[in-house]
Amino acid sequence: MELIRIKDLEKKYKTGVTAIYDFDLKVKKGDFIFVIGASGSGKSTLIRMLYREEKPTKGSIIIGGVDVAKLRNRKVYKLRRKLGIVFQDFKLLPKLTVYENVAFALEILGLPRDEIRKKSMNALNLVGLKNKAKNYPDQLSGGEQQRVAIARAIVNDPKLLLCDEPTGNLDPETSWEIMQVLEEINKLGTTIIMATHDKEMVNRMKKRVILIDAGRLKQDYAKGTYTHEIV
């Protein structure tokens, strides 16, 4: 089953820079895809278009039957509620506890309290942070904070999880732990698209790898290893 189909995608910024062009891609449900490429190659732009933070200048991005490229600003929240996003800098609210940070994503949906509690604790359990629910983000390590962010991203059972360099701020060992968590989530059926720099980790995971070079899809490796030199 196809979850995402990108056709003829182009993104030109107002400054005149073309970040992405001639881009086509199909993603199956349950895929785990790495998007790699040098800094400035356009991989972040691609991810940002997938959650409609950027609007493509041409082409279409169809996610679950909806063309995200045509989505109006006011309706973007409908898309965001169906997917989870994880960032390099975690983007947790420092004044909310771990539990509140996770529950936040459900509260805006107007779910009943019991359901919020159950789902949030499940998500925290999945990332192994059930016992830190009452802590504040600054009391946690970087890896733990990222796991909170992942819990928040998956708490609403999204079909798709987007990760923009989630391990960019973490040491190799912690990065590997995060990958284990993501792998676990992927096994439960969530499609994951992850932009990263970490060549070693990508090779170790043996997943589908997409190489973007200067805004173009250069290579699509079905399984794992890639040999291209990237900066």
């Binding site: 996003i85 947790l92 009943p112």
Partner: protein, 299 residues
Amino acid sequence: MKLFRLLGRSIRDAFKSVFRNFSLSLASISSVTITLLIVAISMVLSYNIENISTLIKKDFSIVVFVENSATNDEVKTIEKKIKNMDNIDSCVYENKEQVAEAWKKSSDTFKVIIESWDKNENPLADTFSIKVKNIENIKETAEQIKKIEKVSLVRYGEGIIEQLLSVLEVIEKFLIGMVIALILVTIFLVSNTIKITIFSRRKEIEIMRLVGASNSNIRMPFVIEGLFLGFLGSVVPILATIYGYSALYNFVHLDNISPFLQLAAPTPFIYIISLILLLIGTIVGMFGSAGSVRKYLKI
């Protein structure tokens, strides 16, 4: 049901955020408090000046002298004609004996002089004392009365009254202008303070957007917070108005100096001002934060 849950959560988040961002909240509250205090003072001031000027205006009267040759019937006709005019509030007739009595009472000097007259020698005239409804038209009314037969003289403080009226008018206009200007300053100051508070929380708004909060999801807690801050900020000015003005009214008696210098009665005046302050505080708070959040929403 869902709507109530969302509303409830917005209210809870608004309260939480007031306490978690305490120093920012305090900044907003105190800027509301200070400006509303100034607004309250200027409203009290302008209302009292208005009150004094009404007292002064009320005191003005037209005095009409009737010719000595007028018969009783003619006097009655004059009275009737005067009372039929539009601008007449009250019209009191005194014959010359009554006028003489009144003068005797008013000063010892007059008493001695008047008592030296013969009974039939009274040089005073029968008079009407007239209060008008609208002081601005006193001149026209006086002219009209002058045209009545057997009326010899009409006096209404010509010259002085026009000057006084124009001075009072200027003062009133100035004070109303000041109150409006102060309200505008309040709106500006408060919404600016809120803007700064929200600027420091733009990251929060960004994250809300990323996890799928709709624009109204984001706006609601901020609007409620603005309302709450505005409410808290108006508490001190309201208490100051109610208790401060009542105390002022009880302890200061300017009417010893002049009968016109009277403070306006505190009720219902202080409650009206309190209501106005409350409305300004909450509405400015609400719209200030709604407007500031808007900048960080993608619409």
